[in-house]
């Protein structure tokens, strides 16, 4: 591993989250959406792991599954040395303060009928004792911390701008002093000028409280900015995981390459000269992934083997993991 000194705060092994599809006369389970299909990664204490990928590839599901907002299909999740992969929901309650989530859509994730104060206070009500006044004070502090004016405590979410709403969501996540926060595309719904505010805030808070983030996004430039290491997902699987610099400078997996080349550059001269890898076709359905490598249907450098054998997810360079036959020739041709 890259930094052997650091210990993983979160350790996910072979996580699978399949949503069943029921059909037939007796509602038998006929098939399933393999939203997350065997994902393993570690998140080290104090780092930000970026998780990128196309829409629908299972990023949100993965993030939610890690926090056990879903009852997962299989796999192990260790947070803070506690295995929570199979813990029943009521028992998870006491774990909740350590792990929190910031949601994709700041509008949708705030109850429109609760005031900001109530929203931020809810976790306190659930997990802490103390008088109402104490809690209110804590709420005010949290609002300060995320840069929200205390005066707005009695307002409803709709009266805020997107960036402010996202701050409310962050304040709620911070309320219980979590160690680990899953940020599920916290900026996707925001305007560019506000995205920066939120990202800066997240960074500040990380510094201040020593937080660990799983930062989900499809904005590669933002991930480059915030993440220490980056995992790239495609169709329910991680295809590449590497430290930020290495990944952006020298992507290994063809999908990562295509993804990076597709990011528009805000510079007309560059933008028109870069050779883009334009992928053909659409993402296959997660309920019916192709045989072999999931990416084989769109891969520009597809080989025969890709269509038959699923590549292993392995460390190909120190600290760099990928799942691609291009980097497997030494071992797997024997197959």
């Amino acid at each position: 591993m890259l930094d052997d000194g650091k210990k993983p705060l979160v350790s996910v092994k072979d996580l699978k989250m399949h949503f069943p599809i029921h059909a037939g006369l007796l509602r038998r389970r006929v098939s399933e959406v393999k939203a997350v299909d065997g994902v393993s990664f570690d998140v080290f204490e104090g780092e930000t792991l970026g998780l990128v990928g196309e829409s629908g590839c299972g990023k949100s599901t993965c993030g939610r599954a890690v926090l056990r907002l879903y009852d997962i299909t299989s796999g192990s999740i260790q947070i803070d040395d506690r295995e929570i992969g199979a813990t029943p929901q009521p028992d998870l309650r006491e774990m909740r303060p350590t792990m929190q989530m910031v949601f994709q859509d700041p509008q949708a994730s705030l109850n429109p009928r609760m005031t900001v104060e109530d929203i931020i206070k809810e976790p306190l009500d659930e997990h802490t004792t103390g008088t109402d006044a104490e809690k209110r004070k804590k709420v005010s502090e949290l609002m300060d911390a995320v840069g929200l004016n205390r005066k707005f405590a009695k307002r409803y979410p709709h009266a805020f701008s997107g960036g402010q709403r996202q701050r409310i969501g962050i304040a709620r996540a911070l309320a219980l002093n979590p160690k680990f926060i899953v940020c599920d595309e916290p900026i996707a719904a925001l305007d560019v000028s506000i995205q920066a505010q939120v990202v800066n805030l997240l960074e500040d808070l990380q510094e201040q409280f020593g937080l660990t983030y799983l930062f989900i996004s499809h904005d590669l430039s933002m991930v480059r900015h915030i993440a220490t290491r980056v995992a790239v997902m495609y169709l329910g699987k991680i295809v590449e995981l590497a430290p930020r610099e290495g990944l952006y400078a020298d992507p290994l997996h063809p999908y990562t390459k295509a993804l990076l080349s597709a990011v528009p550059e805000p510079d007309p001269s560059l933008a028109r000269t870069t050779e883009r890898i334009i992928l053909k076709g659409d993402v296959p359905s997660p309920s019916n992934p192709p045989e072999g490598c999931n990416f084989c249907t769109r891969c520009p450098s597809v080989m025969d083997i890709c269509k038959r054998v699923e590549p292993d997810y392995r460390e190909v360079q120190p600290g760099r993991f990928t799942a691609c036959h291009l980097y497997n020739d030494a071992n797997d041709t024997a197959e």
Binding site: A23, G24, L25, L26, R27
Partner: protein
Amino acid sequence: MLNYTIRRLVLSVPTLLFIAFVIFMLLELAPGDPMASMPLTIPPEVRQQMREALGLGEPWWVRFPLWLKQFFIVEPQYWIDNAFGTNFADGAQRIISFQSRSPVFDTIAERMPQTLWVVGMSYVVGVAIALPIGIISAYKQYSVFDQAGTFVSMIGFSVPPFFSGVLVIVIFSVQLGWLPSIYDTTHRVVDWNTFKFQLQQMIMPVMVLALQTTAQVSRYMRASMLDNLGQDYVRTARAKGMSESVVVMRHVLRNSMIPVVTVIALGIPSIFGGAIITEQVFKVNGLGQLLIIALQGSDIPMVMTITFLLAVLIVMMNLIADILYGVLDPRIRYD
């Protein structure tokens, strides 16, 4: 879809059996007595004999299975015999009404035409009036038309039919002498004149009943239209240069109808059972009147059979509403 339908049908059988049982026990517990309508001059011993002749001497655990057998086995056999001249039933006893001593199903079949003509037609008329009102109210929200529509429909909803019915009779039959006050169930439509008469005798009960339907359906329609008028695809349609009528009648209406159709379907059972008062006021003598007479006469087989058929209708309409939902909304597929 077919699978789904079959599955739902299969599942509804135990439900219906249970419902049948509950209804039976309810009637069993109810204090009515079929002898209550007999004159007091008939001495008690004779009453007792008559009661026994009706089978009321047997305990419920004999009579309930007997009813089940008659309903599910004997009656279908009779229909088959009737249709194909076979002889499955072989003289088995059908479900016989206590009051008329005739097969319950024959009576129900006899009542069907007027129920369909009046109650069915009123539903059709009610819906036919409600839809345009709902559409216009929503399209011109807060206009005078909209306000008046709300006002009239609420008034219509809140006037009991035993009053509105008599009121229209007093006006149109007694004062003006335009319309018959008593529905002629034996009337046959053969030519224009008889058709005209049929219209004349239907118009009052249909309108009184339709008022209630209109009030409710138009509210739903309005709400649903309002939901859809704000959708993005409406703007798309306008941007394509479609005229307002096409936008509203083709694009918005079809989407708005999806929930409304299910509401309409779910309302059908209650209209069949709920037309009791109106049928009584206009002497339509349809199923509602049959039910009320049977109830008043404690004609248990009749009540049992009609209520059970209504229960079947309710369950079927639930199913049909779901299926319609799927048919109208291509996003929903039952498989």
